[in-house]
Symmetry: C2
Subunit: 405 residues, 2 copies
């Protein structure tokens, strides 16, 4: 049949991913957000400490600010008696100096008064009638957080391209930043296609099914740093697909959650061929062979397989690394566990096999039913990837399961 073009050459998963990652660029647009909205986002500026943190020598303990040398030799049996000249409660500071033989009562966090070079902890003291009995010797600097101990003025404490964690947000706060410059999220247009595809919430007509792929793709992409736009369903015609490509070229990435028939897929191939170039079409992986990747005016375009399971598993394999590179997020560190197969599985497709599994009693059971069945992925705890040359995996063989969370 003239309108059904077979796959010309299937490429390996590694080669496909390499070509994709060579073709996409990290987003360059930046925005400024309040620091409380910045966790998980990517810094677009180096953060240099403009002041020392802490900004002054702070008492690290409740106790008495002293001259350390006044305590030398002090012990439980042989206390030193110092004269109490002032009291500093939390948040207070004072210009009164600590002179020889003197001390100032101080709360944790207070600016250590001039003249003092150590703090004796409350536990090792006794206060009475304006005098303090010190029962422990301290060295200079004891129980003081010196100015700049945490961050020194001029120090580059955070670097552009770092992902902000709760602790790094804390660094921004400690430096007094109210807002921070971060990279914007890459914008992704998700375009469901297919004459038989219908929006959830509407009434199915004869022969129709609900759109699944644009929702699963939106969820996966959003979790990995994308700003997602879901397009309404686009019918399977050359002109509709072409105008969808043109309309969404203002996005950083366009993902077609494609039709499932060869004819539908080929329409998108033709559109990409006419308006840009096809980088590859067809990958040696099951499910998910009919994945298309191309570039139109430099913008990356994916045609995902139409079957829900194929579409979603290929999203984990190809779209997640892609969007993370674009969003400047580091590759996911997969959370993997070793498990024994609870049941054998016959692959033998001549392609790599993405096999979703459920872990029961520490064993991995395949839950893959058919490419169309979204429940198989919904019930899975993770997946294994079986190599191309593996036809059968036996019960009790050890596998590495990549967990979904």
């Amino acid at each position: 049949m003239s309108d059904m073009v077979p796959f010309k050459l299937l490429i390996s998963r590694e080669e496909a991913l390499k070509r994709i990652l060579n073709s996409v660029k990290p987003v360059r647009r930046v925005e400024t957000v309040p620091i409380e909205k910045s966790s998980g986002r990517v810094l677009a500026e180096d953060i240099v400490a403009q002041e020392d943190v802490p900004p002054f020598d702070r008492a690290a303990m409740d106790g008495y600010a002293v001259k350390a040398e006044d305590t030398y030799g002090a012990s439980q049996q042989n206390p030193r008696i110092l004269r109490l000249v002032a009291v500093l409660h939390a948040g207070e500071s004072i210009n009164t100096s600590v002179g020889k033989g003197e001390c100032i009562r101080i709360a944790t966090g207070c600016h250590v008064p001039p003249g003092a070079d150590a703090v004796v902890m409350m536990e090792f003291t006794e206060e009475m009638k304006g005098n303090v009995s010190v029962k422990d010797a301290v060295h200079p600097g004891a129980n003081i957080s010196p100015r700049g101990e945490d961050m020194k003025k001029g120090e580059a404490v955070l670097k552009k391209n770092e992902v902000l964690t709760p602790a790094k947000v804390g660094v921004l706060a400690a430096l007094g930043h109210k807002a921070v410059s971060i990279f914007k999220k890459p914008c992704v247009a998700i375009v469901p296609t297919g004459t038989e595809i219908c929006e959830p919430g509407s009434q199915l007509k004869e022969g129709q099914i609900f759109d699944v792929n644009s929702y699963t793709l939106a969820a996966v992409l959003s979790e990995n740093g994308a700003q997602v736009t879901r397009s309404p369903v686009v019918p399977d015609s050359f002109d509709s697909l072409k105008s969808a490509v043109v309309r969404f070229l203002d996005h950083d990435l366009i993902v077609f959650s494609g039709g499932s028939s060869v004819g539908e897929r080929d329409l998108l191939v033709k559109v990409v061929e006419e308006t840009g170039k096809v980088v590859f079409h067809g990958v040696q992986i099951k499910p998910g062979k009919p994945t298309l990747f191309g570039l139109v005016k430099g913008k990356p375009i994916f045609g995902m397989p139409g079957y829900p399971t194929s579409c979603l598993s290929n999203a984990y394999i190809f779209l997640v690394p892609t969007i993370r590179k674009m969003a400047r997020l580091p590759p996911i560190k997969p959370n993997t566990v070793k498990a024994k197969m609870g049941k054998g599985f016959v692959s033998g497709s001549g392609r790599e096999q993405f096999l979703s599994v459920k872990l029961i009693g520490g064993k991995a059971y395949p839950v893959f039913k058919k490419s169309g069945d979204i429940t198989s992925l919904a019930q899975a705890d993770g997946y294994i990837i079986l190599p191309i040359n593996l036809d059968v995996i036996e019960e009790d063989e050890e596998v590495t399961v990549t967990l979904f969370e």
Copy 2:
């Protein structure tokens, strides 16, 4: 000193966590959201399939719908010739029956027409002049996804309390749900306290430092399912703390990111004692000893240590499990790696030690400086918890590092 009450009895980390988790309840309030906003949230209803999915027998391949028995014995050398009676493009359906010796060309996803019980893949056919040469025998059901294969009408496909993943959102879409009922996020009030604490973005006065803890706590809590309200800084006085407790009792949880001095901490203890009850005050962990947990009118209240590192590490240890239980999220599966210590570390505090580490060349190096130093956590890749009775950990000893992401 009369206003500085020592810790009465330190309890273990396990005991502290047990008491907390026994005291907090999962949130019961629900809300309805569009399914595209539901990933990561917790289902508040069982989802029962109201229709079969797929809703009809679908062609799983492009090819020809046939009566399987018409193909028995067919082979490359010995094809069977069937009469083409109709053509079904994607999304089309037809009432025309497939009779004996007949076939209908069909695209993937189309409703298999009446009379047909199998689909022969395009690859094994040749079409000419209204006839189709079939070169492969197929069994009944071949290349058909039968109605209800993925989900059967009446089947409970998702259960209340499941966390929605991208695949589960796909299940909702496949069933035609436009919106879904989920549990609301528990509301948490974070109250920074301390006379010396100043909001980032403002000008520090003598003796002041910027508020760090409410920002790190907000980030950690938000990442773990909380809806966070950050209060302005509350001064350290009994009345201010008490009125903050009263004001935020309409929240599910109140977290004071407390003052660092004993006096300040004790004020909150007194407020909780007067308005409710203290469950514990003081944990055998370093840093983070001065953690307070109590209940006021049944509402859980935390007093976190004032030092940024202590506050944040205790947030990982205590607040994360707490808020996840309240949000009905499963406990985090920690992503751990084994590593050898790159450098020895002397603990010997008589408490468990939370030690933040950086992984360099596969070895774990302690980055903990002092409790006040937020940069130590910002630079860490993860942490190890050293047991109470361990005084020293030697270089090259193997440890389990819990990664921060």
